[in-house]
Amino acid sequence: MSTTRGSAPGAVTEDVSRTTAGLLREEAEQARRTLLKRALTSSPAYMFGVLLVLVIVFSILSPSAFPTTSNARNVVLNASPLLVMAVAMTYVMIAGGFDLSIGSVLVFANVIAAKVMGWMGTDDALTVVVGLLAALAAGGVWGTFNGLCITKLRVPPLITTLGTLGAALGVADLISGGNDVRTVPLTLINLGSAEPLGVSWIVWVALVVLVVGGLVLHMTRFGRHTYVIGSNPEAARRAGINVDRHVLGLYTLSGVAAGLAGMLSLTQFATTTIAGHTTDVISVIEGVALGGTSMFGGSGLMVGTLIGIFIPATLTNGFIIQNVQPFWQQVATGFILIGAVYLDQLKRRSRERA
């Protein structure tokens, strides 16, 4: 398609085709080598090392309490709603954005789902499904609203989502009268305590979200466009990518993920948790950043987010088991976070020097 007319001068072509064959043969080998090298020097690899060291240290310090299946199960369960939101946040941040509203949107979806199931007054699988759909829709509405403000009204993401951070929580308080809704169908509570294959449903859902999110990010055109938009939105626009529509989609996704996390939280605690999510967004952004996703957009890996979410979760758990003052956990995570972002900067700088 590129050579519709005329042909190139002979000498150049022959010379070039010889090297092409050689280079192409090398390419497969090089691809393998580069991928391995890239994987080993990536931020997720460093952070996996950090996580591994934490697990080993805590296991040595408290061999009877820390490295047990029940403890691991609890750590994973408690991190699951955060993980769901972090998967969506990874997309948003790779695209160069931020979503500060997720904690409030979670609470909003939390309240809507509980209220809807309450209004239905029934207690069967259908009730739970309707509740789930209500939670997803409630989250999606706020996400879409964020996306529209950012793409159509050109309000920066930080301001938009700071606004909806307050607004979503306010509306949730208005709807619930400020009181946690505790009338949750027994079907949902039973679902929360069921453990197919030894692990709670909540964990399975988070795992599916993580795997699907990772595959779509790294394997598909949608994922690729997310990177391009974060790396250079103007380049994306000129390449014919509908940047606004894509960004709108990402914020909607983030809202829906918060909605799903809200439903998971409702399943786990059998009550709405209106006051309990003000710091969720910090944990989520921290996790995504620890995992090596650039704060400037354009790069990041889903596996990094998985590792990043579990570093603070493991620290908290290990510190409590060690009977360390919980404030130390904040100190340690804080320094690890700064270290991780410094690493990202260092890479960037060395790359630009090259």
């Binding site: 609890n74 408690n78 948790t273 908290t316 690890i336």
Partner: protein
Amino acid sequence: MTRRLRMGVPLCALAVAAIAAGCGSSSSSSKASSSSGASSSAGSSGSSGKTYHVVYIPGLTGNPFYSTVACGAKSVAPQMHVKFSVQGAPTFAVNAQTPVVNAVTATHPDAIMISNDDPKGMIPPLLQAQRAGIKIVNIDGDLAEKSVGVTNIQSDNAYGGQLAGQAMGKLIGGKGTVAIIDNDPGFPISEARVAGFMQAMKQYPGVKVLGVQYSHNETSNAASIVSSTAAAHPDFAGVYTVETNNTEGAITGARDAHVVGKLKIVGYDTSDPIVKGIQDGTVSADIVQYPYGEGQVGLQSAVKAIQGQSVPREQTQPFVVATKANVNTANVQRFIYKTSC
């Protein structure tokens, strides 16, 4: 150089983690040794000579009320052969407290004393703990499921609210506008305090009570609520502050709006600035609970339960209404919170 730097950063962060973990374990072991050292002065319950491990999980960390509970428990721990420690989350929420309970359960203490963040949401993790053979003592916040936990020790928050309402009605002479400042909506304890207050205010039909305003536990928010309400309502006569930070904020707000003395502040719970406010008259009345006693009774109940003795399921603790007139008396001082011990 670059390579070393790159490796250095996560490692240095890890070092912080390791140091923290190290301090923690050494301090807890020293605690353990000091309590066993005090075993010569063994109390009535220490007949077996065994050291019990009891953990207190407050509603949130850094709160004077909960710190005082911890102090109370700590004061009786040595004589009861208890290795006592405190673990908590920085926010008051079920999803923040659950991971703490999970992790504490993993260490298998003999008993957990807990100020629950949610009467229903905290059931599953505590049930897990109870099934693992850990005795649960609820302090200032019971569970909806009474089979979880051997006892609940708390003061009657609705009654405390009523006391606050009665004090307010008298202070403002039954007329004027009254504001209420609470932390956040959705917490049964503060709601009971507000409900009790409203109940008492019914006896004063001449008082206009504004809706509850929320400070999100921020002193500065409480201060601006007070100063702006003072500007909006010339007959602003009193403010009922439902938690510590709100009372502290109201003191500042009253100063900012130049209504000290004219505006009657009735608070709930104390701290050092609030005690000072009572002494200089900025705070007219304050409902003081007895968390120190709750902590003592809590630990005693925990040890009894561990030893298989029976404990009443409900235990209450007294209140005192502190005013400028009585704040320096021994009777009131006994109630005042102690944040460090």
